[in-house]
Symmetry: C2
Subunit: 411 residues, 2 copies
């Protein structure tokens, strides 16, 4: 008993934190409640009830099923639901008419076979990636409506009236959903995607900063630096979120600074290049925690150049984040990219002119006090720079992509 109370308490505590962290989620819940209460009103009003009868249930059902967190997702489901219901209804009625012509014996067979065929075909279409991305929900509703129409039609003669009622109740439900979702504190999938990309850029810059500082500093690391360094992990795992948001964003009408045909696919590209950078930072991070470390003298030798290169890269990333935020191509970006490239070249030159004497200077034991049974200690020195180099290169590559996008975004 005590365990159950404690578990419930934990869940409630957890819920409270979620609510405090993102009040829009609480607002979303209130919106759902509101939409449902309004749709219930239709029911309570007797004249409407007399018109629609038991079919008013479909309005309630539509609201529950269709109402989603972002405007884009709601639109996607509404449009899919209406079109699929209409198509399936029309097809169902058509097949019904054909079946009616062929006599009472053949009718159930024709209906059964058509249900089997269309349900199988629609289910299969959900496996095709391009269909799944846009019409997954529609395919399901198509199967549902089609089988309901052909099955119920066996009994009910007034199919046309039924179809008309169902469509109008669904229309009431969907329009109510769209109104509520757009009028009260709307959450746009496009905006969310925009912010996510912007945030990911800043997180990446922070964790690059954190990693390089951590690597080149002598004393132990503080807690908040460690926390900062972990930012790139969010970037690694944000692929699914980005894709679903870009998917929903396509359905959204013009809002704020985003047009209907905003190039959402470009965001996915930026996201992919950010993830590429994150892979590099992951490797860099593993260098920090690795037992194989460069000797301190060498580290000091490169410290300045590396810090410079990384700080310029961070500048570029931050500038890009601002570009994304303002959706205007910044005039500074080219200068900053040039600065970064210059710093990287300097680093490479420094590497080339490294005095040979340093090379064999293995300093075993000094930093590897924690070295484990693997037997690899000290001795591998250029690792930090080599790790930073591809990183910086990827950043510069990303800059190329991103600046090109900068032009596209604010066309």
């Amino acid at each position: 008993m005590g365990i159950i109370v404690w578990k419930v308490w934990r869940v409630l505590e957890n819920a409270w934190h979620i609510g405090v962290a993102d009040p829009r989620k609480v607002i979303h819940c209130i919106k759902v409640g509101l939409a449902l209460s309004i749709v219930s009103l239709f029911y309570y009003m007797r004249p409407l009830y007399d018109d629609f009868g038991g079919n008013a249930m479909w309005a309630v059902m539509t609201v529950v099923v269709v109402f989603e967190y972002t405007v884009g997702a709601t639109f996607y489901k509404c449009i899919n639901r209406v079109i699929a219901t209409f198509l399936a209804g029309a097809l169902g009625v058509g097949i019904h008419l054909v079946a009616e012509q062929s006599g009472d014996q053949l009718k159930p067979i024709i209906l059964g076979i058509s249900v089997f065929l269309f349900a199988s075909a629609a289910t299969f279409s959900r496996f095709i990636p391009s269909v799944k991305a846009r019409f997954d929900y529609g395919a399901m509703i198509f199967i549902l409506t089609f089988s309901l129409v052909s099955v119920s039609g066996y009994r009910v003669v007034e199919l046309f009236e039924l179809a008309h009622m169902r469509l109008s109740t669904i229309a009431i439900g969907t329009s109510l959903c769209i109104l509520v979702t757009m009028l009260f504190c709307p959450v746009w999938a496009g905006c969310e995607l925009h912010h996510l990309i912007h945030q990911n850029m800043e997180k990446l810059a922070d964790s690059l900063d954190g990693c390089v500082t951590e690597y080149f500093k002598e004393n132990g690391s503080e807690e908040d630096l460690k926390k900062k360094m972990q930012g790139y992990k969010c970037v690694l795992n944000s692929k699914a979120a980005e894709e679903s948001m870009a998917n929903f964003a396509r359905w959204e009408p013009t809002h704020g600074r985003f047009n209907f045909r905003h190039p959402w696919k470009q965001y996915l590209k930026i996201g992919a290049s950010l993830r590429n950078c994150a892979y590099c930072i992951e490797t860099l991070n593993s260098c920090i925690s690795s037992e194989i470390q460069a000797p301190p003298c060498l580290r000091k030798h490169f410290s300045n150049k590396c810090m410079k290169a990384s700080s310029y890269s961070i500048n570029v990333l931050k500038e890009l984040a601002i570009t994304i935020m303002k959706m205007k191509k910044s005039s500074n970006i080219d200068i900053k990219v040039a600065e970064m490239n210059f710093a990287v070249e300097e680093l490479v030159d420094a590497l080339k002119s490294l005095p040979t004497t340093h090379f064999i200077a293995t300093t075993t034991g000094e930093e590897s006090t924690k070295a484990k049974a693997e037997g690899v200690e000290g001795s591998e020195h250029p690792s930090p720079i080599i790790k930073v180099l591809p990183l910086v290169k990827v950043v510069s590559l990303m800059v190329e992509i991103a600046t090109r996008i900068g032009g596209v975004v604010n066309a």
Copy 2:
């Protein structure tokens, strides 16, 4: 017109390829059609129709909504649907009784407020990660049933009978789904997850092999090698699939070699460490295409040792894949891990004893015929080894995790 025909043709061609690549998807479609046809039979049989009336619709609806590709997903939805319908129905009837006691004036107000409160609370619960993972669908059905019961109850007096009918039709639908999904070529989420992990391990081994071979060989690369090398990208992107499958696998009953309480979470851990390895291969891969290349003499010097280390790592990975497949701890695994560690040590030693004369031998221009405006050419030699090292280390780390899991999996 021609464009539309062409597009439709493309989609059909695409669909054909999907069907050929995985016939189980086609079977799934047939299963859906079959389940729907069977449930339609209930409708066509007059005695049943007289019993259930319009409520038979719920059986059709349940089949359409609940039938999923894997057994686990179907179970998840069935159990969620039945429990949520029962709970919400009971709660709805209860609140109805209370509202009835308080007079005609207060009744709609009480009902409206309760719909608002419960709908908001259930919506909010869907944001809590632990609830979302297991009961997301249940929460939606709860809202749906609860609002339908409290709304329709305003008119219909025979609430109990209605609730009973709805529950029994849903029970018919769900049991039919479970039967069809389990009896005809079942697709178990657990098996799928198992195969995915196994496949990912082999892909990882292949692309490690491909990358290292590609790096150390003199002449140009063939097409199939390139294709092999790209295998790690699947591993990078399989996180979402793994998580949803592990989620569904928990709902599945005992089947084949998998028990009800099979440690599915361990699969997620293996998946995470595989992804860690894939990050390293990604970095290694970027070294291959990078313009900064080691001079050929150095490369040759390390070629043997590197190949040896990587081939031992590949052996370990393949052995692990077999372990996973057979679900039995292999006796060879410890030996292979020791071999791998030994090879890595040798590589490190070779690096330590590198003759200094090699160091400054920059061979600009030789390999960097494609070098671009970045100005970084030749000169950075140990990059391959350094890249292989953390890779090998991660592999050995993964081996530790995975051998431990090996014991757990076949408890």
